[in-house]
């Protein structure tokens, strides 16, 4: 294999980060986020990316339990924050 699992993971994370930033900019034009929407969405998005990085890395190192725990500890709060940020942004409009 040319690329290792970790290399593919971080390349993918780069793409996802770029997509997330594009999405934030696009929706900001439509919804005009306030300070708290920005903070909540960026925190949620960062946590979601970290969750993916952690969980995939744990699978690569062969510790599936750490991967599952990563989804619970980082994944659930990230979903909550992203949903909350979305709600705040829509409500404001």
């Amino acid at each position: 294999m040319i690329f290792t699992g970790i290399e593919i993971l971080f390349f993918t994370l780069g793409l996802l980060t770029a997509l997330f930033i594009v999405a934030l900019v696009k929706y900001n034009k439509e919804l005009n986020f306030d300070k708290w929407s920005w903070i909540t969405l960026i925190t949620g998005g960062s946590l979601a990316l970290f969750c993916i990085a952690w969980s995939v890395s744990s699978v690569l190192e062969g510790v599936p339990r750490a991967s599952s725990m990563g989804m619970v500890v980082f994944g659930i709060p990230s979903i909550v924050l992203l949903l909350l940020g979305r709600r705040m942004a829509i409500k404001k409009k």
Partner: protein
């Protein structure tokens, strides 16, 4: 005394972490010229690692004024195998270990013929060329102290002689860099150089061959037999296989340890030949001649720990250690480092809980004397540290017939070299004590460090199980 500065020996590791972890690194790799990128990486490194790893000018743990160098007679193997102490229980442990190791296999997974054969193969090189070095015996096989010169016209198909011409390095840093590069080429994973310190050398040495041959008057000898005045000690750490150590306490774990004993025998000997061919005197050592742990701490390879082993930044306690004494001293010496491991040990205690022989202390704070009850002649007293009951530990070896390793396997610092573990290490070091309890619980919850788990043996033998570091 204490001075914060960047520790160069670990810079590469942290830089790798930053390269992997920093968002936008991929973009930088394409757009920023390589020199500018290197400068940027160094700056980030200084900002973060400089606060994270401290260096000390002196030995980082308190040593009492009345500290005496440890006697070779007062190590647990000398008591168990060579009768230097009258206690019957330690001799019984020695007999049990001798009977079970290699020769006696069971049906039980991890102690069956497959595991014993694996263990025997791992130890074979060490046991063939430096048989009792692992038990702290000096001058075994190729670890002999003899320093010979090549005679004019003599053909010797070996390199174990001192060159008449002494190579001169341009400066001390170049000397240190070349020696470390040579050690890494031969197979060492971490290398450090420190001053020879008589506190950490054995006070005297035992000669089991004299005991076996009935020459009791020659059974103990001193430093007068050492062929030169050592000035520097080059220390090396060798990473043991993660999945092998995870099988503790079995013969597969023993094989992971034995493999590195064989490796360190080879590398220490090769490095001693390198120094001899540069024109300097050198003696390769494993566990013999001096205490490896304080020497490697002094050379900045890691910190002490509750279990008594070295904890390195990169591999945790999952290392074996070797050293080379030399009279070469035109070299840049390393300094001791601190990255929070000993602080973490105060709250963690996972090794103490995992130890099947209950040999590891549960004390909150390090002490100058052992706090367990009973005989303690096998501890080097007078250093502020955690004291492990080596007799109980060795009793467990006798029960299993192999060197347990549960303490290393359970340690939260024992992780494969992955970015998320290094991140957790950094966060842990930056946090105060109470947070360490939480980190320890999280380590358990995330599924790390359990011992005596037969599934880990299946995983060790599974060819698909070895995918660490993205390889």
């Amino acid at each position: 005394m204490e001075k914060k500065e960047l520790d160069k020996s670990n810079a590469l590791n942290r830089r790798n972490f930053l390269k992997l972890g920093a968002a936008g690194a991929a973009l930088g790799a394409v757009t920023i010229p390589s020199k500018a990128r290197e400068n940027l990486a160094n700056k980030i490194d200084e900002k973060t690692a400089g606060d994270f790893i401290k260096t000390h000018d002196d030995f980082p743990y308190e040593v009492r004024d009345d500290y005496q160098p440890h006697s070779n007679k007062d190590i647990v193997f000398s008591g168990a195998f060579w009768g230097f102490h009258p206690e019957e229980d330690i001799k019984q442990s020695g007999r049990a270990f001798s009977a079970k190791t290699y020769m006696h296999f069971e049906e039980k997974k991890g102690f069956d013929q497959l595991a014993k054969a694996l263990n025997a193969g791992a130890w074979s090189l060490h046991n063939a060329v430096t048989p009792m070095s692992s038990q702290g015996i000096s001058q075994e096989g190729i670890f002999k102290w003899e320093q010979s010169r090549k005679k004019e016209g003599e053909f010797r198909p070996n390199h174990d002689w001192i060159n008449e011409h002494q190579y001169q390095f341009n400066n001390k840093k170049e000397a240190a860099d070349c020696i470390k590069r040579a050690a890494r080429l031969y197979g060492a994973d971490l290398v450090g150089i420190t001053h020879r310190d008589k506190r950490w050398d054995y006070r005297d040495f035992i000669d089991p061959h004299a005991i076996m041959e009935g020459r009791k008057e020659d059974a103990v000898y001193g430093w007068e037999r050492f062929p030169f005045e050592p000035k520097s000690v080059i220390v090396m750490a060798f990473e043991m296989d993660y999945e092998g150590i995870a099988t503790a306490p079995t013969d597969v774990e023993g094989a992971a340890a034995g493999t590195m004993y064989s490796q360190m025998t080879k590398v220490a000997y090769q490095l001693s030949i390198f120094l001899k061919q540069l024109g300097y005197q050198a003696v390769p050592c494993g566990n013999d001649t001096g205490l490896s742990i304080p020497y490697v701490i002094a050379a900045g390879l890691g910190e002490g720990s509750r279990m008594g082993n070295l904890i390195t930044y990169k591999y945790g306690p999952r290392v074996r250690l070797a050293k080379v004494y030399t009279d070469f001293d035109f070299v840049e010496y390393d300094k001791p480092i601190e990255f929070g491991a000993m602080e973490f040990c105060k709250n963690c205690m996972r090794c103490a809980e995992a130890c099947p022989g209950k040999a590891i202390s549960f004390d909150k704070e390090p002490t100058f004397e052992p706090t367990y009850e009973g005989a303690n002649w096998y501890n080097a007293k007078g250093v502020k540290k955690y004291y492990m009951d080596a007799k109980k530990c060795f009793h467990t070896w006798g029960e299993f017939g192999t060197d347990c390793g549960s303490c290393m396997a359970s340690c939260p610092y024992n992780k494969p070299d992955f970015w998320h573990h290094r991140l957790v290490d950094k966060i842990t070091a930056a946090m105060p004590g109470p947070v360490h309890d939480f980190m320890r619980e999280m380590d358990i919850a995330f599924g790390y460090g359990d011992v005596d788990n037969p599934e880990k043996i299946d995983r060790f033998f599974n060819p698909k199980g070895r995918s660490y570091n993205g390889k």
